[in-house]
């Protein structure tokens, strides 16, 4: 039981993002956790180990010797039918990279909390979205939490989604390193019964079974490789309606609204920002002030990043005059940073579409301040007014 104030069937508590994720994992009654500590994720695995060692959670904690082994062990564990969790960050995810693709292709439901952190070099322990972006093509469903509440809620939903037989893909829940991983906020946690009802024990389709021996992970040559990938692609895309349904179900259960995208002021916005993660709140905070000044601005944030909510995004953005896409990362030599490229291609087929500017910001934990958000809105407003993109890509908050 979380200590806090009882509000109906939920409890209002103060927790950091890492604690909230660990608590969600505990309530999800996970079977196996294989992880390697890395700042700023470490507290998640420490908390889970505490739960296990204090007898509050009946699970196996495999304290592996590397992230590569962490995800390898997760795949093995998931193939037995167990409910499996891991957590990592930045370099750790980079070390897992090879195995991410295998987890997805093997259709092993694994939930990963990713405390977003900049990739080296130079080494840095603070937030960038480099890590999440670097694995965007690996076939993992990815969510971005905006605050600690969402980190908690999305973790529980991630298990349900990953294990749903219409999905069967691993899921990453992103939470901004330090900003959310170590940030303490008020949140509502569900009672255990509600979580159990929403998330019953996993019902695996195929498992490692001596009575029913199967071969997992065979060699597939050019005669079949493409068929496998086509099947995987189809399954990944088809997971979208299942994800939507589960988000809706959880929304009903929790009273908190979950959907692939969140919008603010988009009914009449002429200029908008598209953001991921904890910056969404900051962007809305500034947008409110600007709207008080009569500026028609809006904010779109993505809760679901993969599969990319292309249609929803296009629907809310097509009539906007100008959009600044905010990237907490940089893609060397690309036409824009990662989210920018996604948004640009999502809009390409639209008859009407906004002018697009890409803003690179917040790298390595550089604070995304209200001033920076305002600057981004001003660029969007100016672009909307002039009908002309002055600079396709800008860097915010850099000397």
């Amino acid at each position: 039981m979380a200590v806090g104030v009882q509000v109906g069937r939920q409890t209002r508590v103060g927790m950091s993002g890492n604690e909230a994720v660990a608590y969600a994992v505990k309530q999800s009654n996970v079977d196996v956790v294989a992880a390697y500590p890395i700042t700023p994720q470490t507290i998640i695995v420490e908390r889970i180990a505490e739960y296990v060692n204090n007898g509050e959670l009946n699970a196996a904690c495999v304290a592996v010797e590397s992230e590569h082994s962490a995800l390898s062990a997760c795949i093995g564990a998931s193939l037995t039918g167990a409910r499996v969790f891991t957590a990592t960050s930045s370099q750790g995810l980079a070390l897992m990279w090879e195995i991410l693709w295998i987890a997805s292709a093997m259709r092993t439901p694994i939930v990963m909390a990713l405390a977003n952190r900049a990739l080296s070099a130079p080494i840095n322990i603070h937030c960038s979205h480099d890590d999440a972006y670097a694995v965007r093509d690996a076939g993992w469903i990815q969510f971005f939490a905006e605050d600690v509440q969402e980190a908690y809620d999305l973790t529980i939903q991630a298990f349900r989604i990953a294990e749903d037989e219409r999905v069967l893909f691993p899921v990453i829940v992103n939470l901004d390193g330090f900003i959310l991983s170590h940030g303490v906020e008020a949140l509502y946690v569900l009672d255990d019964e509600s979580v159990n009802a929403f998330l019953p024990p996993r019902k695996p389709i195929n498992t490692i079974d001596v009575e029913k021996p199967m071969t997992y992970g065979p060699l597939v040559l050019y005669d079949y490789y493409m068929e496998f990938k086509r099947a995987q692609a189809e399954a990944f895309n088809n997971s979208y309606p299942a994800i939507l349904g589960i988000l809706q179900e959880y929304s009903k259960l929790s009273g908190r609204n979950y959907a692939p995208i969140k919008t603010y002021g988009m009914e009449d916005a002429e200029a908008a920002l598209v953001v991921l993660g904890s910056s969404a709140g900051t962007a809305r905070f500034v947008a409110r002030r600007l709207r008080e000044q009569g500026k028609k601005v809006g904010v779109v944030s993505l809760t679901l990043y993969r599969p990319f909510p292309r249609d929803e995004l296009a629907r809310v953005l097509r009539r906007v005059k100008s959009v600044v896409v905010m990237d907490r990362s940089y893609s060397f030599g690309s036409p824009g940073a990662q989210l920018f490229m996604d948004v640009a291609s999502a809009l390409y087929d639209e008859k009407e579409r906004p002018l697009l500017v890409n803003a690179v910001y917040g790298l390595g934990g550089r604070d995304f301040t209200a001033e920076q958000a305002e600057m981004a809105f001003r660029i969007a407003l100016e672009t909307a007014r002039s009908g002309e993109v002055k600079e396709r890509q800008v860097w915010l908050g850099v000397r």
Binding site: A105, M214, T215, P218, V220, F228, A235
Partner: protein, 94 residues
């Protein structure tokens, strides 16, 4: 394989659900020489059965051994290891 499956026919994940179905894949045609057992010399020591890498040597209930030419790749280990020289390698011909 007579006809290749489409992506729609594949199971979930990367799985082969039929254990040991490689028996459908005959490797006998890899062979240039075939082992032939002289059953009159055979002492049923089973070494050929143990050492066969395929396995392409059948061990019968009475420990009589028999080559399964569907799979035998003709490596000749059995002939080389037979302690009583009961197995001879014979050319398959061209």
């Amino acid at each position: 394989m007579s006809s290749l499956l489409s992506w729609r026919d594949l199971g979930i994940g990367c799985v082969i659900s039929e254990p040991g179905n490689s028996v459908q894949y005959k490797t006998g045609d890899w062979r240039a020489h075939r082992p032939v057992i002289d059953q009159t010399k055979c002492i049923k020591c089973l070494l050929c059965w143990v050492y066969c890498p395929e396995p392409a040597i059948t061990r019968h209930n009475d420990d009589r051994v028999e080559i399964n030419y569907d799979y035998c790749k003709g490596c000749g280990i059995c002939a080389n290891e037979c302690p009583v020289k009961a197995i001879k390698m014979v050319s398959e011909g061209v």
